[in-house]
Amino acid sequence: MTDLLYSDVEEDLRASVRALLVDRSPAPRVLARVESDETYDAKLWRTLAVELGTGGLAIPTEYGGAGASFREAAVVCEELGRAVAPVPYLGSAVVATATLLAAGGTALLAELASGTRTAALAVPFATGPGAPSTTVAVTGGRLTGAVRGVADALPADVLLVPAGGGLYEVEARDAVREPVTSLDQTRQLCDIRLADVPGREIATGDGAAAAVSAGLTAGTALLAAEQVGLAEWCLQSTVEYMRTRYQFARPVGSFQAVKHRLADVWVGLTQARAVARYAAACLATGDPDTPVAVALAKAHCGPVAVSAAEECVQLHGGIGFTWEHPAHLYLKRAKADAIALGTADQHRAALARLVDLPGPLVEGEAA
């Protein structure tokens, strides 16, 4: 059976990422940043990617990466979720990296591994399971079109653009990137416009589709890990508040209804951890069960994170509803994450196909 635990190496990795984030990206700083002009924290990202070397965890050593796997990268995502950190890890070190790996590896992969450049896959962040439809056309090697609501593209140097049946590397400076007022303030989306822009083709036909699919699959699995970390912060901070907040001369956490709800959050979180670990482990080993594991992870972890964040706001009462308290950053990311890379509903539909639980026969269809 697949290993669902954390290795010592993974725990060390977690500790160093967490220490960095506690030091450099505490909640008040995140809140200040998302109200600034540059919502992504470039300096933090550089430290994380270059100094801690987490940018190339899933990249083989031949490209200068750490030669670990998406299992280890998932631990980073957990910590980034716990801190709602405004860095393009998911977009660059997971989605773009997995896309490039599947496309066969390019010079860009080495730049991602070394942290010198950052990339993003130019598909809408809400893209669900199944191939996304292309909205960019190619004429004579030049790309024209628009892609809405792309994650982690604002701080990217290179965009990976599915276009006209192929997959292209485009210099981000050649594209127009319009920042979007995003629900998740800690991961600001942008709309991308390409007007006759040069692109390097890195994959074609089925290879391009497979590369994009690999990127989205990895992104989905690791988004589940992010949801685990996020839910854990929500639960822990709520438990802490419930221990210390007195009403009716008792800690609020001594009331049974509060206890039972938090117990349910904990149960869901415990399961989310197992499920997300399973998805990351399948991804890392190329397990044939990966599609099931990934759909399961997103279908389960999304609702768990949303309900953890919703309970966090509710049980914090008035203070949880303020701008000043970080709970809302988690609520917004939880809800956005639940939509990103396909809703739980879409992933349940994918599971129905994968595990042979089809829907009702459509009238006229043969039994």
Binding site: Q247, A249, G317, F321, I339
Partner: protein, 396 residues
């Protein structure tokens, strides 16, 4: 005691009044003041205080008649706290002088009211409040911090609950005042919410002087007076009859109908569950109104706000998932100074976020469930240690 007026008699008075005061030519404020003086403001109030001592059920007909005649309105949404909470409290617990002074400009909207109840340390447990009022000469010096005050920046007056005796158990040592919001020492600071807006305020009171004639009810009787206020807060949430799909479910149903490409079988099932829940809530509200009209008020009102909060949260949550891509976009994070919640007019993300407040503001859903369980179902209370010890000795 004379028989209360019936519908016909009240409508006759409206007709007489409109004949004497042409809405088209009478100055707005003059018209409203005259309507108040004619007892047609709130007909169930006593004569002399804007009413006729008539049944509450007749008010809706009066309002409709005035609206049909194109009469100016007192803009009830703008002065909701005054109408819904301050007025019934002043009527019940105020002196004749206080009623005389406050009720007319409250109803006409000349003076806006706000509410200074919640504190950072006293939310659900309002009786734990710490804002101190100390007797001084012919009045009181008040110091403390209040939160979640909507409209404080617009208000002329506030209803205020304070701690006047820390040495007795918490429910016994409170006193209720009318507070002049223009008095020195009153500082209003906007309080920003997770939507980005600042609908509410924090209000800091620093040695604010309140004359004793602005005390409402006896010294130490503030808890009982506040009950009147809070009971009316919950009743006023009912509102008028709602048509089918009248709430947020209508917004969602419209999107569903107009955007077939967004539909999935799974979301369809959830949508239908919410439609059923919303329609059940609507019919329950309608039945409650019929009970009130028939003079059989039931306990069902306790559930309305609880259900409303849950529905708004679930519906707006589903809306974002239905919209996908578009559900990731917000309209504006700027700090707006709105006092009115515009669910339908803002973005789906705003609805989702703002609805989170529905289960916190004006009594949390947890407290409402406690109330239903204990007052409606008669389940035994939690064991309590905070009722018999002096406020100052409470664990906090």
């Amino acid at each position: 005691m004379p028989e209360p007026l019936d519908a016909a008699a009240v409508q006759a008075r409206v007709a007489d009044f409109l004949a004497a005061h042409d809405p088209a030519t009478t100055d707005r404020l003059e018209f409203l003041r005259a309507r108040f003086d004619a007892g047609l403001a709130w007909v169930h109030y006593p004569p002399g205080h804007g009413g006729l001592g008539a049944p509450l059920a007749l008010q809706a007909g009066v309002d409709r008649a005035f609206a049909a005649a194109g009469a100016p309105s007192n803009d009830p949404r703008r002065i909701g706290i005054g109408l819904g909470m301050a007025a019934p409290t002043i009527l019940r617990h105020g002196t004749a002088t206080q009623r005389e002074r406050f009720l007319r400009p409250l109803w006409t909207g000349e003076e806006v009211w706000c509410q200074l109840f919640s504190e950072p340390g006293a939310g659900s447990d309002l009786a734990a409040l710490a804002t101190r009022a100390v007797r001084e000469d012919a009045g009181w010096r008040v110091t403390g911090q209040k939160v979640w005050t909507s409209g404080a920046q617009l208000a002329r007056w506030a209803i205020l609950v304070t701690r006047t005796d820390p040495d007795v158990p918490k429910h016994a040592g409170m006193t209720y005042f009318v507070c002049d919001m223009t008095a020195p020492g009153v500082e209003v600071r906007p309080l920003r919410q997770l939507t980005g807006d600042a609908e509410f305020n924090e209000v800091f009171l620093t040695d604010v002087w309140i004359p004793d004639e602005h005390r409402l009810g006896d010294v130490g009787d503030g808890w009982r007076v506040a009950q009147t206020t809070l009971m009316n807060e919950r009743v006023s949430i009912g509102g008028g009859p709602l048509p089918r799909e009248g709430g947020l479910i209508g917004v969602l149903a419209r999107t569903w109908r107009e955007r077939p490409e967004l539909r999935t079988p799974g979301l369809h099932d959830t949508l239908l569950r919410l439609w059923v829940a919303a329609e059940a809530a609507r019919l329950t509200g309608e039945r409650l109104r019929q009970q009130l009209t028939a003079g059989q008020p039931g306990p069902e009102g306790s559930a309305a706000k609880l259900v409303f909060a849950t529905l708004n949260q679930q519906i707006s949550g589903l809306e974002l998932e239905l919209l996908g891509d578009e559900g990731l976009r917000h309209d504006d994070w700027g700090m707006r100074r709105e006092s009115i919640v515009d669910f339908a007019g803002r973005s789906p993300t705003y609805r989702y976020l703002r609805a989170k407040g529905n289960s916190i503001e004006g009594g949390t859903s947890e407290i409402l469930r406690n109330i239903i369980a204990e007052r409606v179902l008669g389940l035994p209370p939690e064991p309590r240690s905070d009722k018999d010890i002096p406020w100052k000795d409470l664990p906090r």
